[in-house]
């Protein structure tokens, strides 16, 4: 059995794009978006919402991807998600019936002192009505319902509120997770999605961290269906032989908060197809 080595090294933060210890989220944001602007001057800002397809390295995959988006493989899933949303009267639990609000997710809940994702809010809404919460938080019904929810905000620009000190604590937790090396293969998220973004790892192009999540849930052939963002996080942990965390764990929600804040200003594209 593989011994799983989780190595959190501060040194991982030391080189390349790095954040100074005292910098706040606002400075981080400038540095993060500035890094990609500088290294990919020909990629228009909004393009980062398209994941790896934004990159020059993916130029020859782009046409095929656009073609698939015309008859997207997730259409049926999206319809199922809408039906579930309506049958279970989920609109009753959300501001504005859930329309046009996804760009503010995840958010800090002051009362409960925790980061709330739409997955948690959907399950809470079901529980409140005396119904069973959705168990699988990575695929299936949850991915379908979240797709419907986020599709009602398509094109809206990410805006995350970090004004509460509690939110900033979780933001910092997520930021640390993103920059720390882990797993037997010793990679940080940033190694692949900042420092090597736009390069090939074997036959795979590495997407930029900028834009991570705005297209989720996403459809992948490898998955044979839709998956949530936390499903992807788990996959990315596994490929460096690190132990994946549970979907909706505190760490993954903090990571989502960090990644979402880095996307400030990008238009939502979910659901999407990633081939």
């Amino acid at each position: 059995m593989n011994k799983i080595v989780v190595l959190l090294t501060a040194l991982g933060l030391a080189l390349g794009l790095s954040f100074s210890v005292q910098a706040g989220p606002e400075e981080d944001l400038k540095a993060f978006q500035g890094y990609f602007k500088k290294n990919f001057p020909d990629v228009p800002f909004d393009e980062w919402s398209n994941g790896l397809y934004a990159l020059p390295a993916a130029a020859d995959r782009r046409a095929e991807w656009e073609q698939i988006e015309e008859f997207p493989p997730y259409e049926l899933d999206l319809a199922k998600g809408k039906k579930f949303w309506e049958t279970n009267n989920l609109a009753s639990c959300f501001k504005n019936g859930g329309k046009g609000i996804a760009q503010n997710y995840p958010y800090w809940d002051k009362k409960r002192k925790e980061v709330r994702t739409v997955e948690l809010d959907i399950n809470e809404c079901l529980t409140r009505q005396g119904k069973k919460p959705i168990k699988n938080l990575k695929k299936g019904t949850m991915a379908q319902v979240v797709s419907h929810f986020r599709s009602m905000s398509k094109g809206n620009r990410v805006k995350i509120d970090l004004s509460d000190p509690g939110a900033r604590v979780e933001y910092t937790r997520g930021r640390q997770y993103f920059w720390a090396k882990r797993g037997q293969l010793n990679f940080s998220c940033a190694n692949c999605h900042v420092h090597q973004a736009g390069k090939f790892i074997g036959g795979n192009i590495l997407s930029a961290g900028l834009g991570h999540g705005v297209g989720f849930p996403t459809y992948r052939n490898k998955w044979g269906g839709l998956g949530t963002l936390h499903r992807r996080y788990g996959g990315c942990n596994k490929q460096v032989r690190a132990k994946p965390l549970k979907a909706q764990s505190k760490e993954y929600r903090a990571l989502e908060l960090f990644e979402a804040y880095m996307n400030t200003g990008l238009p939502l594209t979910a659901p999407s197809n990633r081939g």
């Binding site: 080595v5 293969l185 390069k199 090939f200 074997g202």
Partner: protein, 143 residues
């Protein structure tokens, strides 16, 4: 056994000629590095005993070295493996690493030279054994 799906596994599936970013320097490398320069097939690897061939087998095994995920090197174009372009091509190794111990050290723990290296610390994290690092080092030195 835990399935390591992965960076390492998934890569094979993608069909993309563009990933064979031919590193110009790779072509400049001298041919005739002997067995070390040849890309061993699965069949050959299954019963290989020649240390250089075994080294090459370890280096190109996805569960072991998987060096081609990031590096381009001679012989890869003769296989169905896809090389990445994250790292510098492995060429002219004898000239660039006259001291074999330095080459071995880079493979055993690249974070010594660059703490933020994207290269896995094969020795420090026991990704392969010490003996396997020796074999990979011998093979890499022939490139």
């Amino acid at each position: 056994m835990r399935k390591s799906s992965t960076l390492f596994g998934a890569l094979s599936a993608a069909v993309l000629a563009a990933s064979l970013v031919a590193a110009p320097a790779a072509h400049a490398a001298k041919a005739g590095a002997g067995k070390g320069g040849e890309m061993p097939s699965k069949k050959v690897c299954a019963k290989a005993t020649d240390p250089l061939v075994v080294g090459g087998c370890l280096a190109t095994n996805r569960k072991k070295g998987n060096c081609m995920a990031c590096h381009q090197f001679k012989g890869i174009e003769k296989t169905r493996l896809q090389a990445g372009n994250i790292a510098p091509p492995l060429v002219a190794m004898k000239q660039r690493f006259p001291d074999k111990a330095k080459l071995r050290a880079q493979i055993a723990d690249p974070t010594k030279a660059n703490p933020n290296s994207s290269m896995p610390p094969y020795g420090r994290h026991s990704i392969v054994s010490g003996g396997e690092i020796d074999l990979i080092t011998e093979w890499a030195h022939t490139l």
